[in-house]
């Protein structure tokens, strides 16, 4: 099996999707001639021509709005919005139209659009290049939200997203772009909506996604070595639909649950998962569900992000806090 970076895996996913279905179109800012600022679309214009892969004017609302019109006429657009922080101008088209078109046509019209967004922080980027936008999306009925954390999942989930008849926002964790791992060419992992247990453990369930999956696994190794704690790490992979069954199965076993994300704490995925765990697993819990997250501040400048982001130490502290309830 060849080792691939996530960038290469996504490129392969786009390439295979374009080969299999001529309705698949790739467009956005700098995706054509340049092959994307992260080289994710490298070579696609050369190999598929300017009709299938093209640069657009610098206008995010136009990118998503045009995708709506293209999808209405049967295309499968896969636009890129260049950075998380530049998605906001396209929110109106995403929320008012892309997400609602099926409803506004009584189910007659599907919007098979996959919006790729290089996302989240941790790479020392400039302002507006490290945002976590998932809560806005998850809160909007009609959008699927997919967040891969490995090259193999990135390939597979991208193919599933493009084949989906629903609009998908595909959040690519930038800090995992250059992680290299084995990818079986053309292989699918699982459909959208299935979480995966990345590390089995008996003591505490850590629910996370995207860029922090690696952090959680690192923390689990440290916890085992230094404290003898056995962490179970769940990679959600898709936030909508949410595989709550996998979370519930794990929490029923461990009695402890921590949700970890970069996004600010208030009303983040942690709030939703904590609420549901409390509603459905109240008597299985040994401790309240805790959150290990970013803060309710603007994303910090590059030199401060290490202190701001949830990392190994903050997660281990949170685990300790969770255990502190046990014999209270």
């Amino acid at each position: 099996m060849p080792a691939m970076t996530m960038v290469e895996a996504i490129n392969a996913g786009l390439r295979d999707a374009m080969t299999d279905d001529e309705r698949v179109l790739v467009f956005g800012e700098d995706v054509g001639r340049q092959g994307g600022v992260f080289r994710v679309t490298d070579g696609l214009q050369r190999d598929f021509g300017t009709k299938r892969c093209f640069d657009t004017p610098l206008a995010e609302s136009a990118i998503v709005g045009a995708a709506v019109g293209l999808a209405l006429r049967g295309m499968r657009p896969v636009p890129e919005l260049q950075f998380d922080g530049f998605t906001y101008p396209a929110f109106d088209q995403m929320f008012s139209h892309l997400a609602k078109y099926r409803n506004r046509t009584q189910g007659a019209v599907s919007m098979p659009v996959t919006i790729r967004v290089p996302s989240f922080g941790g790479i020392g980027a400039a302002e507006h290049h490290s945002e976590s936008i998932e809560t806005y999306l998850v809160h909007t009925a009609g959008l699927k939200v997919v967040v891969p954390s490995t090259p193999a999942d990135a390939y597979s989930l991208l193919r599933e997203s493009i084949e989906s008849d629903d609009p998908v926002v595909f959040l690519e964790p930038k800090r995992r772009y250059w992680i290299r791992a084995d990818v079986k060419p053309g292989a699918r992992t699982e459909p959208i909506g299935r979480a995966v247990v990345r590390r089995a453990g008996a003591d505490v369930t850590v629910v996370t996604y995207g860029g922090l999956v690696g952090t959680a696994l690192e923390a689990a190794d440290a916890a085992a070595e230094d404290h003898g704690w056995d962490l179970e790490v769940i990679d959600l992979r898709s936030l909508v639909p949410l595989d709550f069954a996998t979370v519930a199965g794990s929490v029923a076993k461990t009695g402890h649950c921590i949700v970890m994300h970069e996004a600010p704490r208030t009303l983040g995925m942690g709030a939703e998962i904590a609420a549901r765990v409390h509603e459905e697993l109240f008597y299985d819990l040994e401790a309240p569900v805790l959150r290990c997250t970013g803060f309710d501040t603007p994303y910090p400048p590059a030199r401060l992000e290490k202190a701001w982001l949830p990392g190994v130490d903050r997660l281990l502290d949170t685990v300790e806090r969770s255990f502190s309830y046990d014999h209270a």
């Binding site: 136009a62 709005g65 209405l72 909506g193 709550f244």
Partner: protein
């Protein structure tokens, strides 16, 4: 053939029929309009106005939540729509009753939107018309995307984005015109300049000499047309369509007209505009003008009026029958129209609401 806006001197709207019905302007643009088409335009304009009245009545009787009247804009809408083929896609805002009727969309399908039973209207896309769209100007981008798709599909169809004067201030309309120009998209931006964006007059909307002038900035032809002259509207749209079908890209058309009624049934225009202004525009009425034109050019037949009246009565009755006390759809349908397959969370919430409804009996 195309009125590219270059100077203020060229800004007089294209007019083929004067307000008194006298033929004016470039006769080649009037030539070869079959009598049958002329009669269809007249009849559809009359039916549009009659149904518009019926919609307003139904709203007053509590049968509709809201209705945006298109009174005064019949020529702009019908004139444009009759210049198109049935496979050309329309991207309406929400006031385009005349265009909907040309497309064969039933008044009841439109009424579903305003009664508050179904968002977007019913079955519009079966008639190559996008659903009714409330957020201002956003549909212009969909028209561009659909036009790009038409070229990829090897079609010679065009798309028409219906926007208003207020929408030209929106970023999406700018982005749409720019993208369409760059892509040579077969898309027509048809601006019904009805002078008022709810209570804000055009003079407070922009400082450009005209809306059509903006075309220069995008590198596309811009045309101004008398929006109360159905024949002129049809002619300029035909020219724009011919260019688009031949691969020469988009056109911006400004149809200068007037919203005779309130913005919607919830609006009171006496708070912001004078009766005198309304009276001036009433004298430019598009339907009276068109009838005078038919009479002056010897193409009027009394049966036309009879036919229009009978069709109006029939359609008004059909609309009332469809709308009056129409039953609500099941609220549970909402859960089936979020995704192609409902997610586990939606199924659970659907079940919850179903139980709640069952308990209420």
């Amino acid at each position: 053939m195309v009125d590219v806006v270059q100077a203020e001197a060229e800004l007089r709207p294209v007019q083929l029929v004067a307000p008194d019905g006298e033929p004016v302007g470039d006769p080649t643009r009037r030539a070869e309009v079959p009598t049958e088409t002329l009669h269809r335009i007249y009849e559809t304009m009359v039916v549009t106005r009659e149904l518009d009245e019926e919609f307003v009545n139904l709203q007053r009787q509590g049968q509709l939540a809201l209705f945006p009247s298109c009174r005064g804009q019949e020529a702009a809408q019908v004139g444009c729509a009759v210049a198109l083929r049935d496979d050309d896609w329309l991207f309406p805002q929400y006031r385009e009753l005349g265009a909907f009727l040309v497309r064969g969309i039933t008044p009841a399908a439109v009424g579903a939107m305003w009664r508050g039973t179904h968002h977007g209207g019913l079955g519009f896309t079966e008639r190559c018309c996008a659903p009714i769209s409330i957020p201002i100007g956003t549909q212009a981008l969909h028209a561009v995307g659909a036009a790009m798709a038409a070229r990829l599909l090897g079609e010679d169809t065009v798309t028409v984005a219906f926007v208003g004067d207020g929408a030209t201030s929106e970023g999406d309309v700018h982005e749409a015109m720019n993208l369409a120009a760059v892509q040579d998209a077969p898309c027509i931006f048809y601006v019904q300049n009805n002078q008022w964006a709810i209570s804000v007059p055009l003079s407070e909307q922009m400082r450009a000499p005209s809306i059509a002038h903006k075309a220069v900035g995008y590198g596309m032809p811009g045309m101004r047309v008398d929006g109360n002259d159905a024949l002129a509207c049809r002619a300029v749209v035909q020219e724009a369509v011919a260019r688009a079908r031949a691969g020469y890209g988009p056109t911006l058309i400004e149809a200068v007209t007037y919203r005779m009624g309130p913005h919607t049934t919830s609006d009171d225009p006496t708070r912001y505009r004078s009766d005198d202004e309304v009276k001036v525009w009433a004298m430019l009425d598009p339907i009276t003008r068109f009838r005078s034109y038919l009479e002056r050019t010897g193409r009027w037949e009394p049966e036309i009026e009879d036919r229009a009246r009978v069709r109006s009565m029939t359609m008004r009755t059909e609309l009332r029958d469809a709308i009056f006390d129409a039953p609500d759809p099941s609220v549970l349908e909402l859960f089936d129209q979020v995704f192609a397959q409902p997610s586990p969370a939606l199924l659970e919430q659907r079940e919850f609401l179903a139980r709640e409804l069952a308990a209420e009996g």
